[in-house]
């Protein structure tokens, strides 16, 4: 069966490339590049979370950053309190998943759809942002962790080898961990999507009513997808808090949510490799373009270093011109090229002059 062989070959290629990257990158690049690569890996995990929820589940979540931020804050608060990272790590996944499940129950069992889903997820994100942002005073603390309001939480202790608080991960260790977790997430999702559950999720996306009439409860499948997405975003948040040893409320910001959506749009919905490539490309672009603030000198270079402007233009451009995203569009194009080449006697060439 050729389709199946193709799928397996694709999986093998990703696995080979991923492993090679995991093992070789630290030997080839400088430490600061490795630091950049690590954040690409983390953001790719975050992109995968929305890639699942939106691309496969058909649930447009405008607030994926909420789960990302929740994961980061959970890790920070738990780590400051506990000092050993096993439980904080697990909490940083479980808490956003639980929150997503709660929110999902509220939305899906209330039969809220489309635009309203967007409104609610966006609003929840803003509530989190506002609330956390205003907890600057010393009276706001959880255990011994001060929330710090708009100042954020600094000096978050890094992850350690389970059971050994003194064996903290260094920068290289963070790279290995993030890359390994990205690969694990990718292959885990591939397996999930190939399972009965994953196929029903896609069925619900394609035609919710039909899935229902076949005996599947769409609410349950959406809820589960949303919660899994929340867990993955939480995992990314945990790694992100580790990476910078710092977390602040901007992680809940609209700009963060917009970025995640842009990654998925650019890479392509309905694929997993697309969001990964999209996030890496866009992260690379924003880093290259420079910081989010302009220097105010007013030159053309200033315009280019203006990340919102460039990202905004990219989002508009993709929605209008490449609505399916790069990976599906390119895959289709390649497929068409192959098909044109394979049957030896090609169909009559198109007339050179139309009309």
């Amino acid at each position: 069966m050729s389709a199946r062989a193709g799928t397996l070959a694709g999986l093998a290629a990703v696995a080979a490339f991923g492993l090679a990257f995991l093992l070789l990158a630290p030997h080839w690049v400088e430490l600061d590049t490795l630091l950049d690569l690590t954040v690409y890996m983390i953001m790719s995990i975050l992109a995968l979370s929305l890639g699942l929820v939106w691309g496969y589940g058909g649930i447009l979540c405008f607030g994926q950053a909420a789960f990302f931020g929740l994961g980061a804050y959970t890790y920070a608060v738990a780590m400051v309190n506990i000092g050993e990272s096993t439980l904080p790590f697990l909490l940083a996944i479980a808490l956003p998943a639980g929150f997503a499940a709660l929110l999902g129950y509220f939305m899906f069992y209330g039969r809220i759809s489309d635009v309203y889903l967007g409104v609610i997820t966006l609003t929840v994100t803003l509530i989190l942002f506002n609330t956390v942002n205003s907890t600057a005073g010393p009276e706001y603390h959880i255990g011994s962790a001060r929330l710090g309001g708009f100042n954020g939480i600094p000096s978050i202790p890094p992850l350690n080898i389970p059971g050994r608080p003194e064996a903290a991960l260094d920068l290289e260790g963070m790279f290995y961990l993030s890359t390994a977790l990205l690969l694990a997430t990718y292959f885990g999702l591939r397996a999930l999507l190939a399972s009965r559950f994953g196929r029903v999720v896609v069925g619900v996306r394609e035609n919710e009513r039909r899935a229902e009439l076949l005996g599947y409860d769409p609410r349950l499948y959406k809820l589960a997808t949303f919660a899994i997405g929340g867990a993955i975003a939480g995992l990314a948040g945990c790694l992100f808090a580790n990476w910078g040893a710092f977390v602040s409320p901007t992680i809940f910001g609209l700009a963060q949510s917009a970025q995640i959506i842009i990654w998925v749009i650019v890479g392509g919905r309905g694929t997993l490799i697309g969001p990964i490539l999209g996030s890496i490309a866009m992260e690379w672009l924003t880093t290259t373009l420079g910081a989010n603030q302009t220097t105010g000198t007013g030159g053309l270079a200033d315009l280019w270093s203006n990340a919102p402007l460039v990202l905004g233009a990219i989002l508009i451009g993709f929605v209008l011109l490449v609505p399916r995203g790069l990976v599906p569009t390119l895959a289709d194009g390649a497929g068409r090229l192959l098909r044109r080449r394979l049957p030896a006697p090609a169909a009559a060439p198109a007339p050179e002059v139309a009309e």
Binding site: F106, G110, V115, Y116, V119, T123, T131, P308, L311, G312
Partner: protein, 288 residues
């Protein structure tokens, strides 16, 4: 007693400003089923237009009440012609594209005006109510909101323009058969919505100051007011603004402004869950 009056004025102001920032979005959503996520930036541009106007030597009133709506209305028409019109019927894509536009406009204004807050001082000064003082400009904002809402209602209800607009929104093909040009109606409607946003941005500029990312503070509130209100433009905006404004102001009064806003957002979520079609989807169905 004095405190009650001040509180009442504050509540009215909260309702009025909410209605004012939502109306432009409500028109575009109610008539065209388009959610414009760059709406907050239209408000922001209205603020800048007012400020630039005063710098150019136009009076404050002209800048705020004429220049701001005119400039943003024009921008609205351009946006409709270059982006929105390709996406009719694709609600989600429209939201995404206008979100992109929102980022783009934030970037552009940062580039032009810098990332600082500029302000114009509010006219009228303060107003004493017993032992309390409140800004007289507050009353002005309430008056403007009332006038604008009344104006939109009258136009929709009693003019040929309003009739054409309502007809096109009900059934574009039917309107086309009657000799109306739907693309032009859409462009005009979007432009009018943008102009009202510009007006709101201009009128609120003295209160809040203007900076490139101020739209972010507006958009969520406007968004939930419109969705919470439902399809009827005026009745929906007024009822949702009244509900949310009251909750916001009372919660602010009881705690802090931040938690007032959180209460507002929380109330909106509950409302959308209970009434997915918005207030006017359930009540006041014949409203406009």
């Amino acid at each position: 007693m004095d405190l009650a009056v001040v509180l009442a004025i504050q509540v009215l102001y909260a309702i009025a400003s909410l209605a004012l920032i939502s109306l432009g979005l409500a028109i575009v959503f109610g008539m065209m089923r388009v959610i414009n996520l760059a709406h907050g930036e239209f408000l922001m541009l209205g603020g800048y237009a007012a400020i630039v106007g005063t710098h150019l030597g136009f009076g404050l009133w002209v800048s705020m009440l004429v220049l701001a709506p005119a400039a943003v209305g024009l921008i609205g028409v351009v946006v409709e012609r270059t982006i929105i019109r390709f996406l009719y019927g694709r609600m989600i894509d429209t939201m995404l594209a206008t979100w992109g536009l929102s980022l783009f406009l934030i970037g552009l204004t940062t580039f032009v005006f810098g990332n600082t807050t500029v302000g114009i001082s509010a006219p009228f000064g303060a107003l004493a109510i017993g032992r309390y003082r409140t800004s007289a400009y507050t009353l002005f904002v309430i008056a403007v909101a009332t006038a604008v809402l009344g104006g939109v209602y009258v136009v929709l209800r009693h003019t040929r323009l309003g009739l054409i607009a309502r007809g096109t929104m009900q059934n574009a093909n039917m309107a086309a058969a009657l000799g109306v040009n739907p693309p032009r109606v859409y462009a005009v409607t979007f432009g009018v919505g943008a102009a009202l946003s510009g007006l709101a941005g201009g009128v609120l500029a003295p209160v809040s100051g203007v900076f490139p990312t101020i739209g972010v503070a507006y958009i969520a509130k406007a968004f939930i007011t419109v969705i919470g209100g439902g399809a009827a433009i005026v009745t929906g905006t007024v009822s949702a603004a009244s509900l949310f404004g009251t909750i916001n102001q009372l919660a602010t009064f009881a705690t802090t402004p931040v938690f007032g806003e959180v209460a507002l957002l929380g109330a909106a979520i509950v409302l959308i869950r209970l009434l997915p079609q918005g207030i006017t989807g359930r009540f006041f169905r014949r409203g406009l």
